[in-house]
């Protein structure tokens, strides 16, 4: 495919996946002004919308911003054009994972994949297993170790996962998705 054509399809791809009215954005910047995590972003939310309008696929999908977004929906409820920006960020995360571009954040996507593996294997999240698994993937073994010990002493940490039957059904759902089966 001609690269310019591929670039052009990004806006429609996001629209199709997210069903939002990105074109309505007139850059009032209310989303970015109220965003609690804007300080950690490399591209502000209003700029993300502009980049999408200009079909800057790689710039958007390899940004830190789409992972830093905490999905708090402050932007979505304040947008004068009713653009659900938080939902668009979710759509962009999904597109980013399948894009083949280098992801803008390292550990956050790892966290999500470890989290999903944990649901798949047990059906419920067992927090301690999740944290240990995350540490083994991010190689950050000592972070919050002292806090973990304090929480253990307070009885906040459950050592073993609970046993129940629903786990098998969950495994089947995941297997179906991994095989690419649709409903």
């Amino acid at each position: 495919m001609d690269p310019s054509q591929k670039e052009k399809s990004f806006l429609s791809e996001v629209l199709q996946a997210g069903g939002e009215t990105i074109q309505a954005c007139y850059q009032c910047q209310k989303c970015s002004a109220g965003c609690p995590v804007a300080f950690a972003m490399d591209i502000l939310p209003n700029q993300i919308l502009r980049h999408i309008q200009f079909d800057h696929r790689e710039r958007v999908l390899s940004s830190k911003t789409i992972w830093i977004c905490a999905s708090c929906y402050s932007c979505s409820v304040r947008c004068p054009n009713n653009i659900d920006i938080a939902k668009i960020m979710g759509t962009l995360r999904t597109l980013s994972i399948h894009s083949g571009f280098k992801l803008g954040e390292k550990d956050i996507p790892i966290f999500h994949s470890v989290f999903l593996d944990a649901i798949k294997s047990k059906g419920r999240i067992h927090e301690l297993s999740l944290i240990l698994q995350l540490k083994s993937k991010t190689r950050d073994f000592f972070k919050d170790a002292a806090l973990g010990l304090k929480m253990y002493r307070k009885g906040m940490i459950k050592l073993f996962p609970s046993k129940f039957a629903g786990g098998r059904e969950i495994k089947e759902i995941f297997n179906a998705y991994e095989k690419g089966e649709r409903r």
Binding site: V37, A40, R124, L147, G155
Partner: protein, 283 residues
């Protein structure tokens, strides 16, 4: 006696055990019988909706389909689970999405804070409280998904919600109005970008202290953990003193209704709430 189905969710079987215990305790004092959903599974938060929307709907719909086997409402204490369920409900009903599980959309999904702040429960609390929690000053912290997006939560006052404040008043607690009621705590970013969560936490704790609150009250396990567990390291960073207990609203309800296990629930917090409550003669 009112009967209601109950989906505790993963956190309430782990770090948020005292939220689970206090909901069960308070419910029994208010003649509400909880029926834990049989064989429930994870709702998919924090991650399924980031990678695969259909999977996210299925993980939620499985639990909703189990709940639909009875006519009871479904009580959901974790706001992340609540938001996933409401999103799935909306996608299935309004956007004709499909799920592997047959769910007709009949279950009334009730977030625990909304449920316990409803008029009939407030009346019960006023009737049954054993002591007014006089002299206790709090800030109500609603967080994000409790109120947003309003098309899912149905909360009209999403910039300045009042329902938790009303509940506090019914128990004799004095809620301060502050501007950070619905600001974000950073949620699951704590696992990977702790720096961001520290900054958000610092701002919330500082503002709560500036409002001269004795403690901060919440109905979200993520907010509770993020604000409760890191105060010592935040104090070292900022040089400010916080020492601000972060309570679940159900723990204060337990205290007002005279539940015998309140001390046990409160004992599981990292920032000690018992000190300030006993100084006020409330425990």
């Amino acid at each position: 006696m009112k009967e209601i189905s109950y989906y505790p969710g993963c956190s309430l079987h782990g770090t948020a055990r005292e939220y689970d215990d206090s909901i069960r305790g308070v419910s029994s004092l208010l003649d509400i019988q909880l029926h834990e959903l049989e064989d429930w599974t994870c709702c998919g938060a924090s991650s399924a909706h980031c990678t695969n929307e259909e999977l996210a709907i299925d993980l939620a719909a499985r639990n909703l389909a189990i709940a639909e086997k009875s006519d009871r409402e479904l009580l959901v204490p974790c706001v992340a689970c609540y938001s996933r369920f409401k999103t799935a409900e909306n996608e299935l009903k309004e956007h004709s999405k499909k799920s592997r599980f047959s769910y007709q959309g009949k279950v009334s999904i009730r977030y625990a804070l909304d449920f316990f702040c409803s008029e009939p429960i407030l009346e019960e609390v006023k009737k049954k409280r054993t002591k007014p929690l006089a002299g206790l000053k709090v800030v109500c912290y609603y967080g994000c998904l409790t109120v947003r997006p309003p098309k899912l939560t149905g909360i009209h006052e999403y910039e300045n919600p009042q329902h938790m404040d009303h509940l506090m008043e019914c128990m004799g607690v004095e809620p301060f109005q502050w501007s950070y009621k619905t600001d974000c705590c950073g949620a699951s970013l704590v696992m990977t970008r702790t720096d961001i969560v520290r900054k958000l936490g610092q701002r919330l704790l500082s503002m709560a202290k500036e409002a001269e609150a004795d403690c901060l009250v919440t109905g979200c396990p993520m907010c509770q953990a993020n604000l409760d567990t890191r105060q010592e390291e935040l104090e070292k960073e900022s040089g400010e003193k916080y020492d601000l207990p972060i309570l679940y609203f159900t723990e204060l309800m337990g205290l007002a209704l005279g539940h015998k296990d309140v001390k046990k629930w409160l004992g599981r917090h990292i920032t000690d709430p018992i000190k300030v409550l006993s100084a006020k003669g409330l425990i």
